[in-house]
Symmetry: C2
Subunit: 276 residues, 2 copies
């Protein structure tokens, strides 16, 4: 695996030169958005969804630029080809210019190999902890990441695999780096779209599960967990992962409905991603 190339504003550069001045005002003020994409068996996983979201994130924080989706995807494909990436994660970071005097900067670079969670996370479900905190722009993937970083660090110290972010009204909005969904009978419940990032995996789940479940968008209170049957998280790197425990409460050790969704997703994934 070769990681020697990165891309800046469409130009292939050595990764060692993919740097920014420490005095860069846009990055300093977190006036920047990003998206991470996975490459599986040399194929990009839904690049259109990811770049749509990158551009939507920029729009949400008022970051103006002249980049276009097709052009960015072409550059990503060039990076995958030049670095000969097979199973890898790459990142796009779009940094704005607060003074509007210069051009924004778009970096595309390889980040890390794909490592999968242990099987028992899927068979037994994971422990999670809750953490109070609201992101400034919940629908945008901004580099304003201290909240997520410190919350996930706390989760790790508590031997939890994910943190669930709870807003100041007590509603669970999303995971530290995942989406959160609940099941009640045949209802699949997802927090209101304005309160969380639109995950690519979640988007797919909602689409493929709609024949088996009634999809409901509504607030989920942390203090109200006993009124639900199952919970799970979704993310590009975790796929569908059942939750066994939230804080000290073991919410369930059985998740028949979540397993149905895991199966639906696996079938979809195999058919549409791997065999495509």
């Amino acid at each position: 695996m070769n990681k020697q190339f990165s891309i800046l504003n469409g130009n292939l550069i050595p990764s060692s030169e993919a740097t920014i001045p420490i005095s860069d005002k846009g990055y300093f003020f977190d006036f920047a958005v990003y998206d991470s994409l996975k490459i599986i068996q040399g194929k990009l996983f839904f690049p259109e969804f990811h770049i749509d979201r990158l551009l939507f994130s920029a729009d949400q924080i008022g970051l103006k630029h002249h980049f276009d989706k097709k052009q960015i995807i072409k550059w990503i494909n060039l990076l995958v080809e030049k670095n000969n990436l097979a199973n890898y994660s790459i990142r796009t970071i779009l940094i704005g210019d607060p003074d509007n005097g210069k051009q924004p900067k778009l970096y595309i670079f390889p980040v890390t190999g794909i490592t999968y969670a242990p099987n028992e996370c899927y068979s037994k479900g994971i422990k999670t902890i809750s953490c109070v905190g609201q992101r400034r722009f919940p629908q945008a993937k901004t580099v304003d990441l201290l909240l997520a970083y410190t919350a996930k660090r706390t989760a790790k110290q508590a031997d939890a695999k994910e943190v669930l972010m709870v807003d100041y009204d007590g509603f669970i909005c999303e995971g530290g780096s995942s989406n959160f969904l609940a099941i009640q009978g045949d209802k699949l419940i997802t927090p209101p779209r304005e309160k969380c990032l639109e995950g690519i995996t979640k988007k797919i789940i909602l689409e493929i599960a709609k024949n088996n479940f009634e999809i409901i968008e509504k607030d989920i209170l942390l203090t109200d967990l006993k009124n639900y049957d199952e919970f799970f998280i979704t993310s590009t790197l975790k796929n569908v992962m059942p939750i066994r425990q939230i804080d000290d409460l073991v919410v369930t050790d059985k998740f028949p409905q979540t397993k149905k969704i895991m199966k639906l997703y696996k079938d979809y994934y195999t058919k549409n991603i791997l065999n495509n």
Copy 2:
């Protein structure tokens, strides 16, 4: 004015080489703290207070490092001397390593010249607007700055000179880049210390005003402004600046008590900073 040198981990480097890899994990996750210092007539303005605060900020977010106050101040002085800075602002940024595998990085670099606010800001007071939002670590100066940046941008669009950050309970905590104080008769009221950054100017004000005012630390409700007589902000670059308007409410166009504090501060400043 020469800005050609910066400092990385104690080493003088050309400013053009003061860069970080776009893949740097610590900076990406906002696992970094900073402080800005002003240099007036070639003299550093309370460097000990600033570096104490930088190290306190690091401690607040659990950023471990091996730097020490005296050493950092020596480096700052070296930077001032080598760049021949007279009236300037410099910044220190300490970036942690999330994986604890490498050394943290401490950058010190010149940022900008000192520009003062127009006189009428001081004679007539300024317009401010309120904005709801809480910082993750209110007592720390972290690079988690999107909230402050977008709030200040909104203020600018509303022709306001500062934004007042209001927490989710409706209390005014601090300005976007200043401290907020209120006056009620002979009482000088400051929001609870755990809810805002400890400003250097505010710290000095509380010390020099304590013979003339009773200092009270308590919450100030945005909806309760009519119960106060005057409001002002403090910051390293603004000193003491009276507030005329908050959102649509003209709170006062007279500020006799604030003027007393402005005078106390000016006398202190002239005696202890300029003639020292």
